[in-house]
């Protein structure tokens, strides 16, 4: 099966932040909501843009990691952080050119959008988006 891809169409965003809530509740622990991996920014008057990890090939976070804790899955093309290997040097949070590597100051770990891998394997933000600003596609195989 081709890898999933999250499609963001900011022209449909109404700034309801359902995606942020869906993300926080999906990635919470011990009954508490976690920090959202999705951030909806207000750019102009009534213009909102949800900013999420783009799951880059040759990603800056992967390249900057001195311990090789961040890697892209060869099948699903999702960039994962291995929390066990991470030494919290914070290089990736600065290196990401899109600002999508977050640091949780309470739990002391870095986290990023992994398209809800291990949480249903289908992006929860897209499920809860009322306007299809966030939607999911299967990627076409690159010829």
């Amino acid at each position: 099966m081709n890898p999933l891809r999250l499609v963001v169409q900011p022209q449909h965003c109404i700034g309801c932040r359902a995606c942020e809530l869906a993300c926080a509740f999906t990635h919470g622990a011990e009954g508490q909501p976690g920090a959202s991996r999705c951030r909806t920014l207000t750019v102009g008057k009534d213009e909102y843009v949800p900013v999420l990890c783009l799951q880059c090939d040759h990603a800056a976070c992967v390249q900057s990691c001195p311990t090789g804790a961040i890697s892209q899955d060869p099948v699903t093309k999702i960039v994962h952080v291995d929390q066990e290997v991470c030494v919290r040097c914070m290089a990736c949070t600065v290196a990401c050119p899109f600002g999508n590597m977050h640091f949780d100051p309470n739990g002391q770990f870095v986290h990023k959008c992994d398209l809800c891998a291990g949480h249903g394997d289908y992006p929860r933000c897209a499920m809860f988006c009322p306007t299809r600003c966030l939607s999911v596609e299967r990627m076409e195989p690159v010829s």
């Binding site: 030494v87 040097c89 600065v94």
Partner: protein, 278 residues
């Protein structure tokens, strides 16, 4: 999803038949199968070292005719037909001894106290060290520094004088202030301070990198940014802006693209795009 090949085989852990492959250590196999083995000096980012001696397990094979050995799980290679016990009486006895010694070395460490209490050791039978600190000399910090940074710290001296330290005890010249050592330290012996734009660790002060747009301090030091550019072969521009400013930049750009999309233009006109969008 079991795959068997020439490099995969089966071994027995606590009476359970588990799969393992060549090149793995016993600890990797127990971790993968959810069998708890306590460790202090283990970190998947670095090679196993076997200095804390807590991951001792009982190893035997049917062909060994009843002979059993106590081995460190982190350093013992997985092999076909191994029979491992992780919670037998002899394993617990040796772990109690280790924790007894660790408690004599670091009586104030909460981590050691908690771990020792789990094995029924509430107070050490040895004479506790005078003026104790929290260092158990596991060497994890030095190994992580070697792997992820510049090998700025190392163990110094021999015997009971052995310490984790910097060259000649002074501020380490090679340190980049990445705090990896402080974050991996199992007992929290290595401490650092951060005030505004300065971070101090190992008796040396580091200046934090600043965001080129908003001027806020970034969570990495100047030396660290230079090191990452050199070692990971990255452009210095990757380490010049904070995540907030970068997100704002992306959002503005995507918002502009979305505006053109609503106007029915597939792509923003390359030359005039910026002026018109403003």
């Amino acid at each position: 999803m079991e795959q068997t090949g020439p490099s995969t085989f089966y071994m027995t852990i606590n009476g359970r038949r588990v799969q393992a492959s060549a090149g793995e250590y016993v600890l990797d196999v127990t971790r993968r199968n959810g069998i708890h083995v306590p460790t202090l000096c283990h970190h998947p980012a670095v090679e196993p070292f076997g200095s804390c001696r807590l991951c001792m397990v009982e190893v035997t094979k049917e062909a060994w005719k009843g002979w059993k050995g106590l081995m460190t799980a982190c350093l013992y290679p997985a092999a076909d037909g191994l029979v491992i016990e992780t919670d037998s009486e002899s394993v617990h006895r040796v772990r109690r001894n280790v924790l007894d010694l660790l408690l004599a070395r670091c009586p104030d460490s909460g981590v050691i106290q908690k771990l020792a209490a789990e094995y029924g050791v509430t107070r050490t039978t040895f004479t506790p060290r005078e003026n104790p600190d929290l260092c158990i000399l596991c060497g994890l910090c030095t190994r992580v520094c070697e792997t992820a940074a510049t090998a700025a710290i190392t163990t110094a001296m021999r015997g009971h004088e052995r310490v984790v330290g910097t060259p000649w005890g002074g501020p380490p010249p090679d340190c980049i202030g990445c705090l990896a050592c402080a974050h991996v330290c199992p007992t929290g012996h290595i401490t650092f301070e951060e005030h505004g734009l300065t971070r101090s660790i190992w008796g040396r002060e580091f200046e934090l990198e600043r965001c080129a747009d908003c001027g806020k301090p970034l969570p990495i030091t100047r030396d660290q940014a230079a090191f990452l550019c050199r070692r990971q072969e990255m452009d210095p521009s990757y380490f010049s802006r904070c995540a907030d400013c970068q997100r704002k930049m992306v959002a503005e750009r995507m918002g502009r693209m979305a505006r053109w999309q609503t106007l029915g233009l597939a792509q923003e006109p390359a030359e005039r795009g910026k002026e018109v969008a403003r």
